[in-house]
Symmetry: C2
Subunit: 176 residues, 2 copies
DNA sequence: TGAGATATGTCAACAAGGCTGACATAAAAT
DNA sequence: ATTTTATGTCAGCCTTGTTGACATATCTCA
């Protein structure tokens, strides 16, 4: 089949002829790939978590506390987008089992500042490395620019209002 | 701070000095970006699903049935990685409410072939377009090569044994 | 043809991890 | 002094996953 008339060629596959709206063809490939990738990505830690009597909810909490020492309850709730009751159930267990420590805030004594214990950091690191292995394998075959492209893409999937917040959280408060 | 001695510069950030293994620094950025991206991505359909009395589990089933008319129960179970009991609960509701139809297989009459009804296709498409909007927004700013890079990355995050299966499913049985 | 394997359906019970609503306390803010 | 804020907790419910047991129809193969 011959190519389209050059003048009508478009980069974006959805607005073929001169930007006419074509009822936007769904991006099935990216929708489904994200599903499958996430499905396998989050399942890696399951076995190890199970050994401690933890689940994926515990993992998420431990991860962000380990990454952000001194995180408050409110900040954690905002990251996870769950209710404080849901959070408290798993957080309580993580504290009881000695993976997370809760200290009273110094500036504001109403707040609870959360810290991973050494044991907590160990587990968090172990799980992060497990997931990193999968990421590195995926990045191994890719061009060097791929990581940047992927990061930018994932970042832009996030709700615009939250993007700056996530940027600070992920890349550190210092970096642009 | 001056650059490292050129001979010791490496592309891969993890094996700094001459490929020595540095206990692999976790890829926190990609780990967390995937979490946040997925968190927001899957939450888009929630409101609409709620109007029909459906949840995310219903969405996943409807999506894949709509995409793969004639899908069998076994194939669906393999995609979703849940038990038949879990599947049946939501599938039953989708059938009762007229979004999916189950026909007896012709070649093998033990099988059930699943099809979305017109109503089912409508809903699936509506939700896919919603998620596509988010994807297009993320792709809009990116270079044209980004989509390819992202697709390849997500595909390689998937378990290697499943990758060919997913490829066929996502890109169609014909394409390479 | 008859035995066994396979694809599916179903019942019951339970677990993880979400949710809402109500209420309590301590500390900060006004 | 009052109100607001940050957190904790109780109780109950929902969704969506799990296991185990068992039933049925159909296919496969000796």
């Amino acid at each position: 089949m011959p190519d389209a008339i050059p003048a009508f060629k478009r980069h974006s596959p959805d607005q073929s002829r001169n930007g006419e709206i074509l009822a936007e063809m769904p991006a099935y490939d990216l929708i489904e790939l994200l599903f499958f990738a996430y499905r396998d990505f989050v399942s890696d830690p399951d076995r190890i978590l199970g050994e401690y009597g933890f689940g994926r909810a515990h993992h998420r909490v431990l991860h962000f506390v380990s990454r952000q020492p001194g995180l408050t309850i409110a900040e954690l709730l905002d990251i996870l987008r769950i209710t404080k009751q849901s959070l408290n159930r798993v957080l309580k267990e993580l504290i009881e089992k000695g993976f997370i420590e809760s200290r009273t805030g110094t500036a504001d004594r109403r707040q609870r500042l959360l810290f991973a214990t050494p044991q907590g950091h160990d587990l968090a690191l172990k799980l992060a490395k497990l997931q990193t292995r999968r990421i590195m394998r995926a990045l191994a075959d890719a061009e060097p620019a791929a990581k940047e492209a992927v990061s930018r893409y994932l970042l832009c999937l996030i709700d615009p209002d939250d993007r700056e917040h996530v940027k600070r959280l992920v890349f550190g408060p210092g970096k642009t």
